[in-house]
């Protein structure tokens, strides 16, 4: 814009100078009119007038072009300013949304006599569709982890709804499969975009170590108990797919010191520059290394997994929300 402006202004100046010069020539010619034939002088004068009209026309055209460009520049400046303000507003709102979403989560760290928990949730954007939650009721630890299809604001909205329903329903129902069923029926209502979420619910009896769980299409948690294995969960459909889905419930007993590692696919599907996925094999390796090092406290495992996946992905941007929740069941000895 500024270069064009200079060109236009220069053109106008050149035109203006030529007008002044033509005016001077005209005056000289009229002064010398005594020695020039009158008709010749008139003809010359007319020619000068024509040229002058053209010059004035050009100057006006130049001025109009300049005015047009200044106006356009001012408008685009205004549009940019408006866009900047709009972006700043959206950014500020997303920041608030992030704070709200994080504040809905329980503390990252939790320790009670029988159980220790450490968790981490890092959305790929400001807000995300991942969730973890836990709380103790009637001597039982209720916990869940979930992942909505997609990411960003739409999935965050659905996850907030799912989280509220989980909190309400699990207050009065102990069975994870039944909780999933109520959640599913609610989430299928009016779900025209067919968004769905994978969800794992566990209920750990802190006295007996009995773990009741049901899995709605979520990644199989890892179990560290002597060796590192994956919890053999039955594949049920995710929530929000079909209202008539029934979820199978499973039970196992955790021995003292057992650690459960729950995660979302942001861990296993993280990619490196060769488009290779981190995969469950690497998760297992990291957990086994920690186990060999005899330090597998929940916090150590979350840190080790986070560092391993960042190291693996290198400079590749985090493409999905990443959530980890590690629960160590260590009942107090009598």
């Amino acid at each position: 814009m500024s270069r064009m402006g200079i060109v236009v202004i220069a053109a106008i100046m050149v035109e203006a100078i030529s007008i002044v010069q033509y005016e001077r020539i005209n005056r000289i010619m009229v002064e010398e009119g005594q020695v020039v034939q009158e008709n010749e002088a008139n003809e010359f004068h007319a020619r000068i007038q024509t040229v002058r009209r053209h010059q004035v026309g050009l100057v006006l055209l130049g001025l109009a072009a300049l005015a047009f460009m200044i106006r356009r520049y001012a408008l685009s400046e205004q549009k940019l300013r408006e866009a900047d303000e709009e972006n700043a507003r959206i950014g500020a709102e997303l920041k608030v949304a992030y704070d709200i979403q994080q504040s809905m989560l329980p503390p990252r760290q939790f320790q009670q006599d029988e159980v220790e928990i450490f968790a981490s949730l890092v959305p790929a954007r400001e807000v995300g569709g991942d969730l973890f939650d836990y709380y103790v009721r009637d001597g039982k630890l209720f916990f869940c982890i979930g992942d909505v299809s997609g990411k960003g604001v739409p999935s965050a909205m659905l996850m907030s709804v799912a989280h509220s329903i989980f909190r309400m329903v699990s207050q009065r129902i102990n069975s994870p499969a039944e909780i999933l069923q109520v959640m599913n029926e609610e989430l299928c209502r009016g779900n025209e975009n067919n968004m769905f979420l994978t969800f794992f619910i566990g209920c750990l009896d802190l006295y007996s170590g009995e773990l009741t769980f049901a899995n709605a299409g979520h990644n199989k948690p890892f179990l560290i108990s002597g060796e590192v294995s994956q919890l053999d969960t039955k594949a049920n459909l995710p929530l929000g797919v079909f209202p008539e889905t029934r979820f199978q419930q499973q039970t196992c007993t955790l021995s003292q010191g057992t650690t459960l590692v729950l995660y979302t696919d942001g861990l296993t599907e993280a990619k490196n520059s060769d488009r290779k996925q981190f995969g469950t094999g690497r998760v297992k390796e990291v957990l086994e290394n920690c186990q060999r090092g005899d330090d597998f406290s929940p916090e150590t495992l979350v840190t080790a997994l986070t560092e391993a996946v960042h190291g693996f992905a290198g400079s590749e941007a985090q493409s999905d929300d990443l959530t980890l929740m590690v629960i160590n069941y260590a009942p107090k000895l009598n």
């Binding site: 067919n194 769905f196 994978t198 995710p238 696919d265 493409s319």
Partner: protein
């Protein structure tokens, strides 16, 4: 990724090539949307060159399946590789889709 749809012998054939991550799924959905209402025609989804599918991609396949079911037609996934099949197994989607 590359997404194409054609009509062949009264059926829709969609082919998905490459990685259907969240970003690619947004573009692919624009192309695949007509299949949400396939008007009773069967839909074949050729996945033989599909290398990865995110949950956003699964949502699109689910939308196609629901539309087809409502119209009494069927959806067949063709040439799904083992990695992608394991994602279908994990999410229970393996039971609601037909594979060949």
């Amino acid at each position: 990724m590359i997404t194409k749809i054609k009509e062949l012998d009264g059926k829709y054939v969609a082919s998905l090539e490459g990685e259907m991550d969240t970003a690619a799924a947004v573009e692919a959905e624009e192309i695949l949307k007509p299949l949400y209402n396939a008007g009773g025609k069967d839909v074949i989804i050729d996945c033989s060159s599909l290398e990865y599918i995110s949950s956003s991609g699964m949502r699109i396949l689910l939308s196609i399946l629901k539309g087809a079911k409502a119209a009494g037609s069927k959806v067949v996934l063709r040439g799904v590789n083992e990695d992608i099949k394991s994602i279908f197994a994990l999410t229970g989607f393996i039971d609601i889709f037909e594979f060949e």
